[in-house]
């Protein structure tokens, strides 16, 4: 019984791992659905009870898994020993350390036109730390199944948004923006960026999911031209 209860408790680290994994799959899904990369560069993978298309491009994967998060590998090894439940995948995405600290407030997937560098779409994920409760000794009790179902709903909605988003006709590329604490120390590979706002944009709020430690609110804003 004790063991079963233990499994349902989600620690800060476990939550960070879940959120990071969601971002890996979510970003891949957006890139596939929006046609940022050609569809032959993706392979099918089963996750959250869905078939999600994950990129096979080495440079993209290294960007997501290694370059964006250079310190991640060590953390992942550590986490995989601590949290075998949540680390089925070795390549975890997103700076888990930042997530644990609550330093990342927002993650934005910006889709820009390669030629003009004009921002066409912003997929924004607001990350709220609800960890105060759990740190006060009250363990989070949300089961992994419910979290997965919430994540599934978010990813499904992202897939569904393709129906109303304008077609990306010119070659595009993407960037990841992190809204972090002003005082967060980052390595040289990171640099300050503009928020890449879209003037005259249309916004659509997406579903949210919560690990009971982190809450992730999704939204998409896109260039609206009549």
């Amino acid at each position: 019984m004790a063991a079963a209860k233990q499994l349902n408790k989600i620690t800060l680290k476990g939550s960070a791992a879940i959120v990071s994994e969601f971002f890996f799959y979510g970003i891949n899904n957006i890139l596939y659905q929006r046609g940022v990369y050609p569809p032959e560069m993706f392979k099918q993978e089963k996750k959250y009870g869905l078939t999600i298309l994950v990129s096979t491009d080495e440079t993209l994967l290294t960007y997501l898994n290694d370059n964006v998060l250079p310190q991640l590998q060590g953390n992942v090894m550590l986490l995989s020993s601590v949290l075998p439940l949540f680390c089925q995948r070795q390549q975890l995405f997103l700076q888990i350390e930042w997530l644990e600290k609550g330093a990342v407030k927002r993650l934005v997937v910006v889709i820009r036109e390669s030629e003009t560098n004009e921002t066409l779409e912003r997929w924004q994920f607001e990350i709220q730390c609800e960890s105060d409760k759990s740190e006060n000794g009250k363990p989070a009790t949300k089961s992994k199944e419910t979290i997965n179902s919430e994540i599934r709903a978010v990813i499904r909605q992202v897939t569904a948004t393709v129906t109303f988003l304008p077609l990306l006709e010119c070659p595009c590329s993407f960037d990841l923006l992190f809204y972090t604490d002003k005082n967060l120390e980052v390595s040289e590979k990171w640099e300050d960026s503009s928020p890449c706002l879209i003037p005259n944009s249309e916004e659509v709020k997406l579903r949210s999911f919560s690990t009971s430690v982190h809450k992730v609110d999704g939204a998409v804003s896109y260039k609206f031209s009549m």
């Binding site: 440079t59 993209l60 960007y63 370059n67 964006v68 407030k105 927002r106 934005v108 910006v110 820009r112 390669s114 030629e115 560098n117 912003r122 924004q124 607001e126 070659p171 595009c172 590329s173 993407f174 960037d175 990841l176 923006l177 992190f178 809204y179 972090t180 604490d181 002003k182 967060l184 980052v186 590979k189 990171w190 640099e191 300050d192 960026s193 503009s194 928020p195 890449c196 706002l197 879209i198 944009s201 916004e203 709020k205 939204a219 804003s221």
Partner: protein, 691 residues
């Protein structure tokens, strides 16, 4: 044997025959003797002779037969014997073979024996030799032995001498030893004595230690006994005190019970007070209603008067009167009610005053009681604590008593028990000290509390005194302030919904902004990875654009040049001229070669024609047409075809059909085309010459 049996039978028959003849002869003799004696006698003698002859002959024959028989028997016996002989001979042969083999064996054995003998002899000689050798060795050994014996004897002598020496030394040593032994004995004795002394000493020491221990123990026991005595005394005192304390405890319990009862009474009184106060409030309300009722009454009376005036003017007297009467009745009842109410009010006021006074009195009582209660509660707490401590003490004392009882039963663990008692006593003392300290503290605190309460009371009374004269002024100012504040509150409340709306709008706006990507730059910053795909793609596209632009510029330049008209350089013209010349030269050469080839081919064909007498023309598909020099017409030609292997075949033509004989002979039989051709040319030539 059969023969033999036949002979026997035969013999019997002969005998029978003989007997018969004899009889006959005898019978004949007798009658003849009488008649003719002389003649008969001669005749008889002849017959006799003949018979005798015949008898002899018969005997001879029988003897011969017997002889033959015997011969035959002998022969058979001989044969048997010869067979036996043969068998024996065989046996003898075999035996002789055996004998021979045995003799050969014997000879072999003899040879072997000889050899053995020789070997033995050789061995014997060897042994003899070795014996001799050994003997010599023995002699040598003997000589050596004798020598050694000599040596040994000499050594023995030396040894005996040495022995003597040693014996003498030994004697000396023995003497010395004896001396030492005597010394040793002396020492041993002295040692034993000293050991005995030592033992005695140790025993005495141990005895001393034991006695010391005993002394110590005794001392300890003494001390413990003294302690126990003192402890017992103290315990007795404590027991006395405990009894006192228990009595006090009982008293406190009683007091407590009383206080509780007081408390209950107090609560009842409070409830009563509450009910009275509520009644009072109701009465006051009614009192407040009184002026309004009076006003109503006045109004009503005025109306009635008006109505009465109206009634005077109007004719509807009766109805109005009825109404009036009813109204007057109502009025009277109202007045009565009013009076009643007034009376009630006055009574209620009186009651109120009384109640107020009683409330005050009760309050005073209550305060007193509460103070008493508080002090009693404090006392109670103190006493409870004390009771707890006492209970602990009692328990400890009981334990001690139990231990005493145990001591009485089991005196063996006196020291442990004594120690325990000491500990208990010490703890008791400490507890007493603690209790005393706590009690002192309690007292101090209670005094302080009393003082404080008194101070508070005096302050409150002063405050009341101070407030009472200024109360209407204060209330007025307060009321003014109140009204101002109320107004303000109303204003703010009016403002509030608009502000809430604004806030909501702003929140919505902020939310929208958040969704758009706005952020607070004071506490957040936006970072991204330097080598992100978008920037890389942008750079790449820039690079591509730059490259394309360059290319475009280049191409444009070229185009422009082309449009302006290309000025041909001298070098280019020269090179072109040279090229053209070269081309014309090459063409000329080709032409010449062609001419030469045609000429040569012509010559060759001419040569072939004049040499072979045939003109050979090549047709399509490796076919050759041969027309003879002597042909009657051009249509008389032969067709040959060359296959892949280079072999020639004659094809059928009109002319060839006329040459079946030649074809059969030269092509089918001889398998030679040159012969066939030459035969044709011979035929044609002969025909032409004949013609």
């Amino acid at each position: 044997m059969e023969d033999y049996s036949e002979t026997a039978e035969n013999t019997t028959t002969f005998r029978i025959m003989g007997d018969f003849k004899r009889f006959l002869s005898s019978h004949s003799d007798n009658p003849s003797s009488e008649l003719t004696i002389k003649e008969n006698t001669s005749k008889a003698s002849d017959v006799m002779m003949r018979v005798k002859m015949k008898q002899i002959e018969a005997a001879h024959a029988s003897s011969e037969r017997a002889h033959v028989k015997a011969n035959i028997e002998l022969e058979s016996k001989f044969e048997q014997l010869t067979a036996q002989n043969k068998v024996l001979k065989d046996k003898a042969d075999s035996l002789q073979g055996k004998v021979n083999s045995l003799t050969t064996k014997l000879l072999d054995m003899q040879d072997e024996v000889k050899q053995m003998r020789k070997d033995k002899e050789a061995e014997i000689s060897k042994w003899e030799n070795s014996y001799l050798h050994l003997e010599t060795l023995k002699q040598e050994a003997d000589s050596r032995l004798s020598e050694e014996m000599m040596m040994v004897t000499s050594q023995n002598q030396q040894l005996s001498e040495h022995n003597l020496m040693l014996q003498s030394q030994n004697n000396i040593l023995n003497l010395k030893c004896e001396e030492h032994y005597t010394h040793m004995d002396q020492y041993k004795r002295s040692l034993e004595a000293s050991q005995t002394v030592l033992k005695d000493y140790q025993e005495t020491k141990s005895k001393l230690a034991r006695s010391e221990q005993q002394v110590n123990r005794l001392k300890q026991e003494l001390a413990t006994l003294q302690d126990t005595k003192t402890l017992a005394k103290t315990l007795k005192e404590e027991m006395n005190r405990l009894r006192h304390i228990e009595v006090e405890f009982k008293k406190i319990h009683e007091e407590n019970y009383l206080l509780r009862q007081n408390n209950d009474n107090f609560a009842l009184l409070q409830e009563k007070l509450h009910s009275v106060e509520s009644k009072l409030a109701r009465a006051e309300l009614q009192c407040a209603n009184v002026p309004s009722l009076e006003v109503e009454n006045n109004m009503l009376t005025q109306r009635i008067e008006q109505l009465q005036n109206m009634s005077v003017t109007k004719n509807e007297h009766s109805s109005l009167q009825i109404e009036l009467s009813s109204l007057s009745q109502k009025l009277s009842t109202a007045q009565e009610e009013n009076l009643n109410l007034k009376a009630e009010l006055s009574t209620l006021r009186n009651h109120n005053i009384e109640l107020n006074s009683s409330i005050k009195a009760i309050d005073q009582k209550l305060t007193e009681k509460s103070e008493i209660c508080a002090s009693l509660n404090a006392q109670l707490l103190r006493l409870r604590k004390r009771a707890g401590l006492l209970a602990k003490e009692r328990d400890s004392i009981r334990e001690i008593l139990q231990s005493y009882d145990a001591e009485l039963t089991m005196t063996s663990h006196t020291t442990q028990l004594n120690k325990r008692i000491e500990n208990e006593a010490a703890s008791n003392k400490r507890l007493y000290h603690r209790i005393e300290e706590l009690e002192d503290e309690n007292k101090k605190l209670a005094d302080e509390a009393m003082k404080n309460r008194l101070g508070i009371k005096t302050l409150e009374s002063q405050k009341e005194l101070n407030e009472t004269p200024d109360s209407p002024m204060v209330s007025q100012t307060m009321n003014e302030e109140n009204s101002v504040l109320r107004e303000k509150i109303q204003k703010y409340e009016a403002e509030r919904p608009t502000l809430i709306e604004k806030i909501e709008q702003l929140e919505a706006w902020i939310e929208q902004g958040k969704i758009k990507g706005d952020y607070n730059p004071e506490n957040t910053k936006v970072i991204h990875f330097a080598m992100n795909p978008a920037d890389l793609a942008h750079q790449k596209s820039k690079q591509d654009v730059a490259n394309l632009k360059e290319e475009c510029i280049r191409l444009r330049q070229k185009l422009r040049e082309a449009a302006d008209g290309h000025e041909v350089s001298v070098a280019e013209v020269e090179s072109l001229k040279l090229a053209q010349e070269e081309a014309s030269r090459a063409e000329l050469r080709n032409q010449r070669l062609k001419e030469v080839f045609t000429k040569k081919i012509q010559e060759f064909r001419q040569a072939c024609y004049s040499l072979t007498g045939y003109r050979i023309d090549t047709l399509n598909d490796s076919q050759f047409r041969l027309v003879s020099m002597y042909a009657e017409s051009e249509s008389d030609y032969l067709l040959f075809e060359m296959n892949e292997r280079g072999e020639m075949k004659l094809l059928e033509t009109e002319y060839s059909t006329t040459l079946t004989e030649l074809v059969n002979l030269h092509l089918h039989h001889q398998n030679s085309i040159p012969m066939f051709l030459s035969a044709i040319s011979v035929n044609l030539f002969s025909q032409q010459t004949l013609a």
